[in-house]
């Protein structure tokens, strides 16, 4: 198993693990932010890259995960990490399930439209109603506390602890998804992406698989959103905006769709791009838009296509993920 890819992955992990020793506070937070977005991108990759469902509304579940912490956080004390994290994933998963019931039967291009429409609905829910506390969002006075039975393994007001917490969760999500994709369920999803018609004709209940994928992807997006809220200490409706949905799709195409590594690489590439553009001009979205257009026209396979010229089989190469 010790091939070039494993070495590259191992080296990257090592780098990420050792980074806080070398980097300054700003960069530690930045890399943590990137890793959170990588979790977000991984969650969408399950849906887009492996089930073939292009959702333009995935930010909704990211935002719902974040808002769960925001809404659960008490005013005068810290929320409990071990309670709020599962709650966030559950809330996001339930929302994804609810939307999925409606949209998963919708085909092709219409699916893109309805996922966007439902995401906007959630956006308005948080932006315009009292429930969501409106366009200013929610500020949390305290970071969550990770104590369980009186024992506090790590301190979430410490940026380095947050960094490692996020790193561990990123690796966990990555490994989890690798496992799922090798499982019968995951194979069926990939079958659906490859040839949905044949899957149906072979007797697979397509609707249930798509709904499960949509829900799982939503729950994982909620995890990412939760971590984002944890890191920044506030939430606002822009977390659910279609900009956010578009950006996470961009991460996928930057890294190469249908590859777990690609999702992670894409998140890094996206943040790198936006940081560079933001440093260049106030109107950085112009540069981003232009970059996206050029990317799609000239490099639709993303960075992965640059690194890998040969066609891969999804199954059959044990090292691929």
């Amino acid at each position: 198993m010790l091939n070039r890819k494993s070495i590259a992955v191992g080296a990257t992990l090592m780098l990420l693990a050792l980074f806080p020793l070398a980097g300054s506070g700003f960069y530690i937070e930045l890399v943590a932010k990137v890793m959170i977005l990588a979790i977000f991108a991984l969650s969408l990759d399950l849906l887009v890259g492996y089930t073939g469902l292009v959702s333009f509304g995935h930010a909704a579940y990211y935002g719902i995960g974040a808002y769960t912490l925001g809404l659960m956080a008490p005013k005068y004390e810290a929320a409990n990490f071990w309670l709020t994290l599962p709650a966030a994933m559950l809330a996001a998963g339930i929302a994804a399930f609810a939307v999925g019931v409606f949209v998963v039967r919708v085909k092709g291009v219409y699916f893109i439209m309805v996922t966007l429409a439902f995401a906007q609905m959630f956006y308005f829910l948080f932006h315009d109603t009292k429930f969501g506390r409106g366009s200013d969002g929610i500020s949390m006075n305290f970071k969550p506390i990770a104590s369980i039975g009186g024992f506090t393994p790590f301190d979430l007001s410490n940026a380095t602890h947050v960094y490692y917490c996020v790193l561990v969760l990123l690796v966990a999500v990555f490994l989890f998804l690798s496992m799922v994709l090798r499982s019968p369920f995951g194979r069926a999803l990939q079958g659906i992406k490859s040839n949905e018609h044949r899957m149906r004709s072979l007797g697979f209940p397509i609707y249930r698989y798509k709904l499960a994928s949509f829900t799982l992807a939503g729950a994982l997006a909620g995890l990412a959103g939760y971590l984002s809220a944890l890191q920044f200490g506030f939430v606002n409706p822009e977390l659910l905006s279609w900009h956010q949905s578009g950006n996470v799709l961009l991460m996928l195409i930057l890294g190469g769709v249908g590859s777990l590594y690609g999702a992670v690489v894409g998140a890094f590439a996206f943040v790198a791009l936006t940081e560079i553009f933001q440093a260049l001009t106030r109107h950085w979205q112009l540069l981003l838009g232009g970059a996206i257009i050029l990317l799609v026209i000239f490099l639709p396979g993303g960075l992965a296509s640059v690194a890998n010229r040969f066609r891969r089989t999804l199954i059959g190469d044990a090292d691929d993920a």
Binding site: V48, V54, F56, V101, F102, V103, R105, V106, G108, V109, Y110, I112, M113, V114, L116, A117, F118, Q120, M121, F124, L125, D128, T129, W242, G246, L249, L250, L252, I253, V257, H283, Q285, L286, L288, G289, G290, A291, I292, I293, L295, V296, I297, P300
Partner: protein, 289 residues
């Protein structure tokens, strides 16, 4: 709500629905005939509105502004298709979505650079400035009736164009078989370019005539795009009647929703969409594919 208020809301709902239909038909044309999902369609609406604002400020006349604006939008559509959209014909939905999303960012930022982010009003032309009295106290603006009439007329023209002319036949043929059309010597590139330009112009024109009523503000493009998506999902692509029905349904639902349940303002439309999706995931009308 008494009968006259009801009538006013009804007319408002119809007017909004017809405007949506205009925008949605541009979207539908581009997707139905060229197979391109164009997220930037709302941006063209926004561009139209801002053009109406700047040009009518310059010339002092909204009609002149609209004429010039339409010409400019056709040109914009042609350039965009030639430079960017033509790359998308063989690409999958994800790539189309991303490229046109990038286009939205570009348009939004360009607008911010050139015109700024302020909200603007556009004056209704004097000739259409009056109101038709309904009761001693209530009257209905002529301009809104004008809008509805124009939208209806354009809808009729579109129908005639697509279904009764040779050009329309070419367009519909292009929809079903691109290679064959090329083989027959019909210039598919030109057809697609014109169809795209037409789509852009429809959206921009809608933005221009809507400007006096809805005012001109940065988020208007996205707002109309998403509602158009709901129209398309409900009404389907490939059916003018479907689009018309869905547009009117949404126009009325949104208008009455805002009046009857103001707290739930924007949500009515989505609830309607959800209900219809549950009942008929295929949409209310048969699809072209």
């Amino acid at each position: 709500m008494d009968i006259y208020s009801f009538l006013i809301q009804l007319l408002n709902g119809v007017q909004y629905g017809l405007l949506l239909f205009l925008v949605a038909s541009g979207l539908t044309l581009i997707f139905g005939i060229m197979g391109i999902i164009n997220l930037a369609h709302g941006s063209f609406y926004m561009v139209g509105a801002y053009m109406a604002f700047t040009l009518s400020s310059l010339t002092g006349n909204l009609f002149v502004a609209i004429v010039v604006g339409v010409v400019l939008s056709v040109l914009l559509g042609i350039v965009l298709e030639w430079a960017l959209i033509s790359h998308l014909y063989k690409r999958d939905h994800l790539e189309q979505v991303l490229l046109t999303y990038g286009l939205i960012l570009v348009f939004e930022e360009l607008r911010s650079l050139i015109v700024g982010n302020d909200v603007h009003g556009v004056a209704v032309p004097a000739i259409l400035g009056g109101s038709i009295p309904l009761t001693a106290t209530l009257s209905y603006p002529v301009y809104r009736l004008f809008m509805s009439a124009v939208c209806l007329a354009l809808a009729g023209l579109l129908y005639l164009l697509i279904h009764r002319t040779r050009v329309g036949m070419m367009i519909r043929a292009g929809a079903s078989n691109r290679e064959m059309v090329s083989a027959l010597g019909l210039n598919i590139t030109l057809v697609y370019r014109l169809v795209f330009a037409l789509g852009v112009a429809l959206a921009a024109f809608a933005g221009m005539i809507a400007a006096p009523v809805s005012s001109v503000y940065p988020g208007m493009g996205t707002q109309v795009l998403i509602i158009c998506f709901v129209v398309v999902v409900i009404g389907g692509i490939g059916s003018i009647w479907g689009a018309l029905f869905a547009s009117l349904l949404i126009g009325l639902a949104d208008t009455f929703g805002k009046v009857l349940v103001p707290e739930a303002a924007g949500v009515t439309v989505y609830l309607l969409m959800a209900a219809i999706l549950l009942w008929r995931p295929e949409g209310l009308f048969r699809r072209a594919g």
